[in-house]
Symmetry: C2
Subunit: 324 residues, 2 copies
C-alpha cells in the first residue's frame, strides 16, 4: 500500500480525477465524460481507467494508491457508501458506489456529497484554511452548499444537510425545480439569473441583452455579467436581484451556524468583484444593528479543483483517523 491519494469529482457530464501525494499536493489530474446513461458499472470502469492512466503516465505503480475519495451529486447514505438517487444520472438508484469503486481501485474509498467535498477542499486548502466555522455555496446550474462547524462537515440526521439552495427567502415567490416557492436557487443560481433576464426582456424591458436573446435564442449568466460591465441597466437590476438573494441567505446562515467566513464558488463567481461587492452591500443593508458582525464574505480560491482536492482530503482524513 502506497501513499498516493486520489480525489474524484463525479458530475452528470464530466468526472474529474486528481492524484495527490500524502501532503495533498496535486501530482496530476484528468477529466473524462461521465456517460452516466451507460449505467453505474460503466461509469465506475471509466473512473478506474482514468485513474489507472493517471498513475501510469506519472510513473506511479498501481499499488501506490493509498485511498480515494469521491464527491457525488444527489442524496446518499454516506456511512453505507450508497447513492440513493441523482437528478442528472437517472440510472443511479441505490448504487453501492463506494464498494464498487473500492473493488475497481483495490483501495479504500470514502463517499461524500459533491458540494460537501468541494466545501471541504476550500476549507482545508482554499478560502477557509485558517478558520474553524464556514458556510459554502456553489453558484452553478443550481445552488449547492456545505456547512462546517468546529472543523467538521455538518451531515445532519440523514446525510442531507446543507441543501442551502433550497432555503426559502421569498415565501410564495418564484417556483423552484424542487417544488418549493421562493428558494434562493430560484433567484440566484446561474440559471435563474439568466432566466430572470430573459423574462424581463420578454416582458418588454429595454436592454442590450435583447440582441443576445434574439441572436442566440438564449441568455447565460455570463452574458448578464458582460453586459453589466458594459453598463446595461437591466443587467444591473438582474445582478442586484441575485446579490440581494445571496445577501439574505448570508444573514440567515450567520444567525444559524455563525460561520467566520462565507465562501461562494461555482461558475458565476467569474463575474468578479462587481457581484461580490453587491452581495456585501445587501448584507450590510439588511443585517441587524444589535451588534457589529465581522463575518467575511469571499469567493473560493481553488476553482474547479476544489472537488478533487476535497475528495482526496476526505480520503486522507478517513485514513488518518483509521476509519477506512
Amino acid at each position: 500500500m502506497g501513499e498516493i491519494l486520489v480525489g474524484i469529482d463525479l458530475g452528470g457530464t464530466n468526472v474529474k480525477v486528481g492524484c495527490f501525494d500524502s501532503a495533498l499536493k496535486l501530482i496530476d489530474k484528468a477529466s473524462a465524460a461521465t456517460e452516466a446513461d451507460m449505467g453505474p458499472e460503466a461509469v465506475v470502469e471509466r473512473i478506474g481507467r482514468t485513474t489507472d492512466n493517471l498513475l501510469a503516465i506519472n510513473n506511479l505503480p498501481v499499488d501506490s494508491l493509498a485511498a480515494a475519495g469521491i464527491g457525488a451529486p444527489g442524496p446518499a447514505r454516506l456511512d453505507e457508501g450508497i447513492i440513493i438517487a441523482s437528478p442528472n444520472m437517472p440510472l443511479f438508484k441505490n448504487v453501492p458506489l463506494r464498494k464498487m469503486l473500492s473493488q475497481r481501485l483495490h483501495a479504500p474509498v470514502v463517499l461524500e456529497n459533491d458540494a460537501n467535498a468541494a466545501c471541504w477542499g476550500e476549507f482545508v486548502l482554499g478560502a477557509g484554511k485558517d478558520i474553524n466555522n464556514m458556510v459554502f455555496f456553489t453558484l452553478g446550474t443550481g445552488i449547492g452548499g456545505g456547512i462546517i462547524t468546529d472543523d467538521k462537515l455538518v451531515h445532519g440526521s440523514a446525510d442531507n444537510a446543507a441543501e442551502l439552495g433550497h432555503i426559502i427567502i421569498y415565501p410564495d415567490g418564484r417556483k423552484c425545480a424542487c417544488g418549493q416557492r421562493g428558494c434562493v436557487e430560484a433567484y440566484a443560481s446561474a440559471d435563474s439569473t439568466a432566466r430572470r433576464a430573459v423574462e424581463a426582456i420578454e416582458a418588454g424591458a429595454e436592454s442590450s441583452l435583447k440582441r443576445v436573446l434574439d441572436e442566440k435564442g438564449r441568455i447565460t449568466s455570463k452574458d448578464v455579467y458582460e453586459h453589466l460591465a458594459a453598463g446595461d441597466e437591466l443587467a444591473k437590476q438582474i445582478t442586484d436581484g441575485t446579490a440581494k438573494a445571496l445577501g439574505l441567505v448570508c444573514i440567515n446562515m450567520l444567525h444559524s451556524t455563525e460561520p467566520g467566513r462565507i465562501v461562494f464558488a461555482g461558475g458565476m463567481i467569474a463575474a468578479g468583484d462587481v457581484l461580490l461587492n453587491r452581495i456585501k452591500d445587501f448584507f450590510d443593508e439588511q443585517i441587524w444593528s444589535l451588534k457589529k458582525e465581522t463575518v467575511e464574505i469571499t469567493f473560493a480560491t481553488l476553482g474547479e479543483d476544489a472537488g478533487i482536492i476535497g475528495a482526496a482530503a476526505l480520503a486522507k482524513k478517513a485514513k488518518d483517523e483509521r476509519r477506512m
Copy 2:
C-alpha cells in the same frame, strides 16, 4: 468535593436554581428575583444565597456541590466565561460571571447562553433525548434558538450561533427590535403574535378580541389562543400568520443542519395542538417534493425546568470530560 450538580437559569426578572444528583435527577429547586439593577456582584450574591438555602433545606452540606452550570441571556464569550452584554440587564457589561460565581459557590462553573442551556436540557432529558440532531426554538417575548449537530451544541465562530429568531423570512417585512426587517421573531414570538392582533383590530378587523383590547388596553398571545379556541376568525388568521412563519423557518433549518426533530418551547406552546398542527400544515404545504421528509416537529416536554436541567447537564458534561 461532593456529587451534587447545580443548574442556574438567569433571566432578566427571575433567576431559577435547581440542585440535582449525579444522575441529573432533580432534588429541589428555588426561584428568586434577579434584581439585575443592583449590578452583577449583588446578583451573584443572590444566586449564592439561593443555592446555599437550597442545599441547606435538603440537608446537603456546602461541600457536596460538585459543579454548577448557568444559562444567561445575551452575547457572551463562553470559553472565557464572560457576559458581553444583556438587553434586559444593562449593568451586565463584560462581566466575568463564571469566575465570580465559581468563587461564590466554591465550585467550578460552566457558562452557556440561556436558550442553548434550555436546548441542551430538552436534548438530554426531554423532547430530544433519543436523537442526535435537533433544532430548538423558544417562543417567548422574543424567539431564542439552539442547534445540536452530532450530539453537540453549535456555538459558531464567536459563541453567537443559533440566533434563530432573527432568520429573515419576509424580506422588507415587519421591523424587528434587532434592526432587521422580516425576522421570524417579528411575526411569531408571543409579543409579535399579540401585536399583530392589536394592529388588525386597530385597522378595523372584527373580532371578539376587540373587547379585551378595550377593557385591558392590551392583548396577550394567551388572549389570542383563548379566542381562537372560542372560534374567533381574526384569532385564527393571526395564529395562521404565526404558524406559517414557524413552518417556513422549520423548512429553512431542515435545509441547513437537517435536524431529526424540531422542538418548540416557551410560553406560547400552551396554545397546544391547534398551534402545533398549523405549523405542521404550513411545513407540509411549503416543503419541497424532491424527497419525502421525516423530520418531526414537536413541543418541548420539560416546561420551565429545561433551563436548570440543561445548565446542570452541561456542568456534568464539562466535569465528565475534565474540562473544569
